[in-house]
Subunit: 304 residues, 2 copies
C-alpha cells in the first residue's frame, strides 16, 4: 500500500541550545515523507524553487520517496527560521518566506491518483480539498491543520474536514477548533465535524486518540538527548499514517482499534527519533531494527 | 500492612470555574490519608486547631484512618485559599495562614512506631527526619517536598532524602532540585541523592517512574469533568504508597517492578477521582469496585 503526502518542502534555519543550522531540508512534507518511508511507499506532492539542491531531493529518493509530484517552480524555496528557548518547549519564528509555496496548487501525477492512503499536511484547506478532488472516492484520509486556518478560513476547513477519516492536531489547535478546554470534550466535538478518529498531539507529553468510546494514550519517549524538536509532530503523523498504509487500514473490522494503537506508537517512535538530531537527520538513515527496538521500549515503558 | 502518613490537615478555600467552597477539609495529610485508605490501614500524624470540627475528623475515621496521631493544639487550623484559572492548570494562592501548623513537631504515638511504610508529606525537611528518627530502621519510606524547602533548607532536605526509598515530586521540583531541564537526567540525578525510585508527577500529563534502568510512564486519566485539581498530587501519592503498603513492598525480588507499576496506576486512579469533585469529596466515599474499574480503564487506554 502507498501513502500520498501533501505538504511543504522547505529550507529551515534552526537554533536550539544544542546548536544551529541554516538552509537545511525541512517542511512538513519532508518530515512526513521520511517518517512514513520505512513503512510504506510514499508519494510526495510539493513545490520547491530553482534553488532546491539535488542532494536534498536525493535524501528523499534514497528513502524511496516518489518525487514525481515534487514540482520545481521558478523562484526560491519556502524558507523558515526559528529559535527555541532553553527547555525547547517554546519557539520563536524569526522568518517565514513563502516564496514559491505561496502559489502552490497541488496537481497529482496520473500515477498517484489510485493511492490508498492520503496524508494532507498543514496547508490551505481549499488546497487540501483540491487534492481529494483529484483522488478516487475510496481512500483513507488523514489531515492536519493549524491556528492560522482555524482563524482565517473556518468554512473551507470545515468543508475539507468532513472528508477526512482522521485528524491529527495539537492540543491548542483542538481547543481552538472547538472552544472546549477539556481535551476529551474537544475530541468528541471534532468527531462531530467529520473525522471518526481524532489524534491530539501533545508534544513532550505524548498523544491521545479518541474514537467512538475509545481513548488511547501514547506517552512521548523520554529522550536522553533532545537536540531539535522541529518536525516532531510531522514525524509522528508520518509514522502513524505510514504504518496504517502498510496494513491497508480501513477503519473496519475488529482489528482496527489495535492497528490504530500500534500506529500511535509508531508515530511516537518516529517523533522521538526526529528530536534526537537536527532537522531531518534523525529520520533519514533510520534502520528498521532501530524502529522495532524503540517500539518494544514503548511497550516496556507502559505495560503493567 | 500499614502506612504512616505525616502531613498537613487544613481548612481550604477553593475557587475553580466550576464553583467555590470555603473552610472545607484539606491539606496534604488529609488527601494522602483518604487516598491510601482503600488499600491499607492508615496512621495519621498531623496537628489541627481547636476550631477543627469533629465532623471533619469523622470523615477520616469513617475510612478507618487512625487519628491517634492527630493532635489538637490551641489556636486555629492551617488555612489555605486559592483560585484556579479557566483551564485549571494554574492557581493563585490568596491566603496561607499556618496557624497551629507553624509549631508542628510530629510526635509518633507508641502504636505507630512499628509501621512498615511511611509517607512523608511536604513539610519542613528536618521534621521529616524527626519522624524517621522515631521509627525503626527497617521500613519503606517515601517523601515529598516542594520549591520552598529546595530553596531555603537544601542541606536539611539532602539529609532527609538520603533516608528515603522513593521520592514523589512534580516536574518543576525535579528540575529545581537537580538543575536539569531534561526529566530523564533529573531522575538520574535525584537517584544519586538517595532515593532508589523517583516518581515525577506531571499533573494533567501523568507521572513517570525512574528506577535503575527502568522507566515507566502512567498517563493521567482524561477526565470528563475536572471540578477541582486541589490535592490531586497528594491523592496520587496516597494511592501509590497505600498500594505498596498493601503488598508489603520492599523493593526486593523480581515482582518489585511490577508492584511499582501497579502502584503508579493506582496513584493515577486516585488522582483522577480526586479531581472529579471539590476538596476531598471525590475520595471520601469511594468504593473498591470503582477503583478497580478505573484501574482496568487505564489498562484499556494504554495496552497495544
Amino acid at each position: 500500500m502507498a501513502l500520498l503526502v501533501v505538504g511543504s518542502v522547505a529550507y529551515d534555519g534552526i537554533e536550539t541550545p544544542h546548536g544551529r543550522v541554516d538552509r537545511v531540508l525541512g517542511g512538513a512534507g519532508s518530515y512526513i515523507a521520511l517518517a512514513a518511508s520505512p513503512f510504506a511507499e510514499v508519494r510526495l506532492v510539493a513545490v520547491v524553487g530553482d534553488d532546491f539542491d539535488d542532494d536534498d531531493e536525493a535524501v528523499l529518493r534514497r528513502r524511496n520517496v516518489d518525487c514525481e509530484g515534487l514540482v520545481r517552480a521558478s523562484g526560491k524555496t519556502f524558507y523558515w527560521k526559528g529559535v527555541y528557548n532553553r527547555r525547547m518547549n517554546e519557539r520563536r519564528t524569526l522568518a517565514t518566506e513563502l516564496n514559491v509555496f505561496a502559489d502552490f496548487r497541488p496537481r497529482l501525477p496520473e500515477s498517484y491518483r489510485d493511492t490508498s492512503h492520503i496524508l494532507l499536511g498543514n496547508i490551505q484547506p481549499d488546497l487540501q480539498s483540491l487534492v481529494l478532488d483529484q483522488t478516487p472516492i475510496r481512500r483513507y484520509v488523514a489531515g492536519d491543520t493549524m491556528n492560522y486556518w482555524i482563524e482565517r478560513t473556518p468554512d473551507e476547513l470545515a468543508a475539507t474536514m468532513r472528508r477526512w477519516n482522521t485528524i491529527l492536531v495539537n492540543d491548542e489547535e483542538a481547543r481552538q477548533l472547538t472552544g472546549e478546554d477539556n481535551l476529551r470534550h474537544a475530541g468528541r466535538a471534532i468527531r462531530r465535524m467529520g473525522p471518526e478518529t481524532v489524534v491530539i498531539k501533545r508534544g513532550e507529553h505524548g498523544a491521545t486518540l479518541y474514537r467512538t468510546d475509545e481513548c488511547f494514550m501514547a506517552p512521548a519517549y523520554p529522550l536522553d538527548k533532545l537536540a531539535d524538536p522541529t518536525g516532531a509532530g510531522d514525524a509522528f503523523a508520518g509514522g502513524f499514517m505510514g504504518y496504517l498504509a502498510s496494513c491497508g487500514f480501513r477503519e473496519t473490522g475488529s482489528a482496527a482499534g489495535a492497528d490504530l494503537r500500534r500506529a500511535m506508537i509508531y508515530g511516537s517512535v518516529m517523533g522521538s527519533f526526529c528530536c534526537e538530531r537536527f532537522g531531518v537527520d534523525g529520520l533519514k538513515d533510520l534502520r528498521a531494527e532501530q524502529i522495532e527496538e524503540r517500539f518494544e521500549e514503548f511497550r516496556a515503558m507502559t505495560a503493567f
